[in-house]
């Protein structure tokens, strides 16, 4: 099962190594990992997607992450209301015949063309993992020449909003 961990760490030499080393020691494969600065200077957020076999493994991983001195906070956001996004760049093969078709195809994905060549288009899309997967599946028949995905990054939703949605749900006012 996939778990999404959001980890706040000191932005410091070797921290990524400390985190990945910890997974290596326990033989856990990292599906994706994204790292970038947060709103606080000196701190970074890592969004780590793991494939683990049990709750206990997840719990142990979170505890071990907590033990790292450069780790300030760890959240398992798998079950939480979150906004998750990933970005993909796809270079897809096109011919004069398929160029318009591809352009039309990607439109519902709110993807954009960021580079145009004689025989290819480079497409950029952001969204949830399932959306990115769907876009890739649709483009595959045309011939994907190159592909780069960032892996997801995530934030939990504003708690006021989450509570409000829950209240409305309970009251059957809206069905989401």
């Amino acid at each position: 099962m996939n778990r999404i961990l959001s980890v706040i760490v000191n932005n410091r030499m070797g921290v990524l190594n400390r985190i990945t080393g910890l997974f290596l020691k326990r033989g856990i494969n990292i599906q994706s990992i994204t790292v970038g600065p947060t709103e606080t200077e000196g701190l970074s957020r890592m969004t780590i997607v793991l494939n683990v076999d049990s709750e206990r493994t997840t719990e142990q991983v979170i505890k071990q992450l907590h033990k790292q001195i450069d780790v300030l906070k760890v959240f398992d956001i798998t079950e939480q209301a979150t906004v998750t996004r990933e970005l993909v760049l796809i270079r897809v093969a096109v011919t004069p015949q398929t160029r318009a078709e591809v352009t039309g195809l990607i439109e519902p994905f709110r993807a954009s063309i960021i580079d145009v060549g004689r025989e290819s288009l480079t497409i950029q899309a952001t969204g949830r993992t399932e959306k990115i997967d769907a876009l890739i599946a649709l483009l595959r028949p045309y011939g994907i020449k190159e592909l780069a995905r960032t892996g997801i990054t995530a934030l939990t939703r504003d708690s006021d909003t989450v509570n409000e949605v829950a209240r409305l749900n309970k009251a059957n006012v809206v069905v989401l």
Partner: protein
């Protein structure tokens, strides 16, 4: 990413002096009250050694960096204070790896300083460069590389703090050569502030109350006490608590000495070579109170049979240990001493389990640890018993790893804490002799015995000269069975007696070796000779090496075979 260290950098305090990096290190070590350094010089730490030249801090020059770090471990185990190690870059640092891993597993506080090539050479594959930070990351509690001399004082202060608080462990500081030469402001008076490191010391009272309630309801309770009791200095609290609630105590290997072995409620060591009573107590218990042990696999045996009927309460300062191996009903994060104090405050009282205690004490009487004297050979167990008798049970026993280690744990009952120095988690052969050096330095007036196997002794025997040079009266007892006894035992029991590479029939002449290292050497091949040799060793002021030729094919019993439950012990009776 930006480089380097401490978390907190407001302006300097008044009275801070400008010092060279190496002098900062020396000054910081003095401020930390460091009594001794174990180390080995080299190119990258020349400036540090120059500053140490007339610093007045005693330095023990071992003959290998591994010796230095094991000595620091022995010192830390006996004194409870962080052991300090200095080694150079490259091979100096890599030679520390085994000791770091050992200290990490056994939660020993160490502050380890390694030299590094100058910052402008880092990453160029310079002479004696290695990625010490990368290599030691998984085997240290934390590690640092100092890239700015201004950060050096607080880095050292943080290192001592991290090493010695919470669950203790080794902290390494990698110190590039130019940093040791650079001048900077030495400000050591700022408080340590590490947002990512806030160990929980005082446990949650509600959880403690749950244990109190569980004790009242229990019909078959048992206490498992580990090294956490010793690290917390909580042995007196443990005794008070046990006497209040009348629950029998099982110790882990590293916990030995936390509870007096002669106490009627002591069941002995549990685990693979523990006592039958201890293991059956854990197997049949309906309440298992673990205080500062980590449910190591050598203790639990097959988890499917470990404390299956028990409600498990686990007190540990490291939350990651709780629920790691054994599912826990009452988790308590905190210091063992604080938890025990709180248990007494909360008026823990015994439940209705006097019959159970009687049953366990019967098992203890009926299935004692045993060996069969043959009237000819020197039984290794008898040898340990003799050491116990001659030292009135008050010696510090340092062991290596293997059969002799188990016999020492079984046949030298410890009454007091910090008297047993052994490599538990990592099982490091070669640990014993250097660790005995550190133990003797930590307790100058104590009788220190290094009880070693012939295999482990030969891994680090170069440190003998340290005993002579620093006049450390360690009595080195080689439990010599001309084999890697434990390997041989497993081959006998589980590999059809195919003794693949476990026999060492050709041995050095240990008496000549002792002579070469300027110490008295004695040989014992029978019980009588052993008694005489041990008496002579004890009467000799300096270090003595005693080569004890013991029964070569003796096995460690009782035993839980690998994969078996702790109730499936073999060899519980002769």
């Amino acid at each position: 990413m930006s480089v380097s260290t401490p978390q907190h950098r407001p302006g300097p305090a008044a009275g801070a002096a400008v010092l060279r990096g190496a002098s900062m290190l020396v000054e910081a070590l003095k401020r930390e009250g460091v009594e001794v350094i174990f180390g080995y010089p080299g190119g990258a730490v020349l400036t540090v050694y120059d500053a140490l030249y007339d610093a007045g801090i005693p330095h023990i020059l071992t003959r290998h960096e591994q010796g230095a770090i094991h000595a620091a471990e022995g010192y830390a185990r006996v004194s409870g204070k962080p052991g300090v190690v200095i080694a150079t870059s490259g091979p100096g640092a890599t030679n520390l790896v085994t000791g770091l891993a050992d200290a990490m597993m056994d939660s020993l506080p160490l502050v380890v300083i390694t030299g590094q090539v100058a910052t402008d050479l880092i990453g160029t594959d310079a002479f004696q460069e290695t990625s010490t930070l990368g290599i030691t990351m998984p085997i240290t509690k934390h590690n640092y590389q100092v890239r700015d001399v201004a950060e050096l004082p607080m880095t050292i202060k943080e290192a001592f703090h991290i090493a010695s608080t919470g669950r203790p462990g080794p902290v390494l500081i990698d110190l590039p050569k130019d940093i040791t030469n650079a001048m900077g402001l030495f400000d050591y008076d700022r408080p340590v502030h590490i947002p990512g490191y806030q160990p929980t010391i005082v446990p949650n009272r509600l959880q403690i109350r749950k244990i109190v309630a569980a004790i009242k309801q229990a019909k078959r309770p048992v206490i498992l006490a580990g090294a956490g009791v010793l690290h917390a200095g909580a042995h007196e609290w443990l005794r008070k608590f046990v006497e209040r609630v009348r629950i029998p105590v099982v110790h882990t290997l590293l916990g030995l000495g936390g509870f007096p072995a002669s106490h009627p409620l002591f069941l002995g060591m549990g685990g693979m070579h523990g006592t039958y009573a201890a293991n059956m107590a854990m197997y049949e218990a309906d309440l298992l109170i673990n205080i500062g042990a980590r449910f190591d696999d050598r203790l639990t045996g097959n988890l499917a049979h470990f404390a299956r009927q028990a409600k498990v309460a686990h007190i540990d300062i490291d939350p990651a240990e709780i629920g790691k191996n054994v599912e826990t009903d009452i988790p308590v994060v905190g210091d063992a001493g604080e938890a025990l104090k709180m248990l007494l405050e909360e008026d823990a009282t015994p439940g209705d389990y006097a019959d159970w205690v009687e049953y366990l004490l019967n098992l203890k009487r009926e299935f004692p640890l045993w060996y069969v004297p043959d009237g000819k050979t020197l039984k290794p167990q008898r040898l340990i018993e003799m050491i116990h008798q001659m030292t009135a049970g008050d010696a510090i026993i340092v062991t290596d790893v293997g059969q002799h280690q188990m016999w020492a744990a079984q046949f030298y009952p410890f009454e007091k804490p910090r008297r047993f120095v052994t490599s538990g988690g990592l099982g490091t052969m070669g640990f014993g002799l250097p660790a005995a050096i550190g133990a003797q330095i930590a307790a100058r007036d104590s009788r220190v015995f290094a009880v070693l196997g012939d295999g482990g002794f030969q891994m680090t025997l170069q440190e003998l000269i340290v005993l002579t040079e620093y006049q450390l009266p360690v009595k080195v007892v080689i439990v010599n069975n001309t084999a890697l006894g434990m390997v041989r035992q497993w081959q006998e029991l589980f590999y059809s007696e195919r003794y693949s590479q476990s026999l060492m029939p050709v041995q050095p002449d240990y008496l000549k070796l002792a002579e070469a290292y300027h110490m008295k050497g004695l040989l014992a091949t029978t019980e009588e000779e052993a008694e005489r040799a041990l008496r002579e060793a004890l009467a000799t002021p300096g270090p003595v090496l005693v080569d004890c030729r013991v029964t070569p094919d003796e096995l460690v019993y009782p035993m839980v075979a690998p994969g078996k439950g702790i109730h499936e012990m073999v060899g519980v009776k002769p």
